[in-house]
Symmetry: C2
Subunit: 276 residues, 2 copies
């Protein structure tokens, strides 16, 4: 059997505009039938679910979405609750807020709710994640690492993510927190994965055709480790700096596309006038 | 006539260790006959020449250098002074401190002292520069730009540097200040130049054989724009973000080498045990 194509994902690098043009959040709403579709705001990542949930609730309401629910999981037993499971089953879009990505997986992993997430995603439910909610989208996620620093061995912590997108590692608040070093670390450890660093107020919309489109005011960095000719990542000296020779990088802006299969960026010329 | 090979340069990304092992400053001293050679500390870049000069004076004295002079240029007329010119003529090493790179070129450019710098460099005097003193080494230098941000058009200011090394653009405090965005800007504008981003407490020693060696506790990033397949840098919309497709990057650590002619990094296997 052919593997099923990935469903739609919108992955946001955090700090998306919530007061001005709201370009990214509008794009999220455009995925919906605003009158009939259910949008679920999942505040699992944050320890301030009420504040964060209410903020997004207000924004999405103002953007015209009629059916909005808040999925608040503060303990693992909440992930067993029938009403939470039913809430997800009815969802057309699930929006994961920021916070701590390890809260998402440690609270949901192995629960019935986790299975439902996979199920509804396979059936076409759109998943959106910002900041921690972005990192958690991939098979393996960066949990922590150094900001504004160069790649050092043993300074990055990774863990299994939700696995909604394969063979990539996402990082967020990318330029703003100087995170190229930690993403280089992650990619050097397994160059089969593509590193995707997403700036604040910037997002990628991953289509089921296997490509993504950049949307927002910042940049998206793609680190392609398949060309690496040498790295010392597997050698001894656990505390040393990394050498990485011949890595390929792309810097994408609003409207630029990237083919995840061929690992090549491309542009849609007709849309040039829409740029920024 | 064959063009003369470049002399020796040590280019430091700022904040080199001055209290611990002093690896980089010791390397500088190792270039000298400590008893007979003259080391000139050029405090042109800083508005605090006394403090900065005295600090380095003390360090280099403690490292055993006997003959040290302070070259303090605070106005352009100081660059006409006979004793300053003679001081440089006697120098075996000139060490440019940090400060503002534009002070160096605006105070020295077009003066007799500037000519002497070129002359003694051609004759084999070693030039060392840290921070602003590093940026100023190349033909074109970055004067200012955004830290912790992605490459945007019209956000980088460049100016002519001292021109001791050709076809490269140096940036310093590289990972620590999140400067990959501004170096990407500079390289996208002319991919003929190699971008060299140097971390704090890290340096490159450029030999007259056309390669450099990395020394220090951080990383050196090389951005090679020759592989770029697309960039929007020359298009309209002056405020927009840059797209850059297919740039090549290398991350080098202590003891890694780079061939400036072939644009390829390499390692000296015998020296593996010296690593870090």
């Amino acid at each position: 059997m052919e593997p099923k194509l990935e469903g739609n994902l919108i992955i946001i690098g955090g700090a998306e505009d919530k007061e001005g043009e709201k370009k990214i959040l509008k794009e999220v709403c455009n995925k919906l039938d605003k009158k009939n579709d259910e949008l679920v705001i999942a505040t699992v990542a944050t320890e301030l679910p009420l504040e964060v949930g209410r903020e997004y609730l207000k924004i999405f309401r103002n953007l015209g979405v009629k059916k909005i629910s808040l999925l608040d999981i503060q303990e693992r037993k909440d992930a067993l609750e029938e009403n939470n499971i039913n809430m997800l089953k009815a969802a057309s879009i699930v929006f994961f807020t920021g916070g701590d990505q390890l809260r998402i997986t440690s609270l949901l992993g192995g629960t019935p709710l986790y299975k439902i997430i996979k199920e509804i995603y396979e059936k076409g439910c759109i998943f959106v994640g910002t900041s921690a909610g972005a990192s958690v989208m991939s098979d393996t996620m960066i949990v922590s690492g150094l900001n504004d620093d160069s790649p050092k061995k043993n300074t990055i912590k990774m863990a299994p993510g939700l696995g909604l997108i394969k063979d990539v590692i996402i990082d967020q608040h990318f330029a703003q927190r100087g995170r190229i070093g930690r993403l280089l670390c992650a990619i050097a450890e397994n160059p089969e994965c593509l590193g995707i660093g997403i700036d604040e107020d910037t997002s990628i919309e991953v289509s089921d055709k296997g490509f993504f489109k950049t949307i927002g005011s910042g940049a998206v960095y793609v680190l392609d480790g398949s060309t690496i000719t040498y790295t010392n990542v597997s050698e001894q000296h656990p505390e040393e700096m990394l050498s990485i020779f011949d890595i390929k990088m792309h810097v994408l802006k609003n409207n630029d596309r990237f083919d995840l299969t061929t690992r090549q960026p491309f542009k849609i010329e007709e849309e040039k006038n829409e740029d920024n």
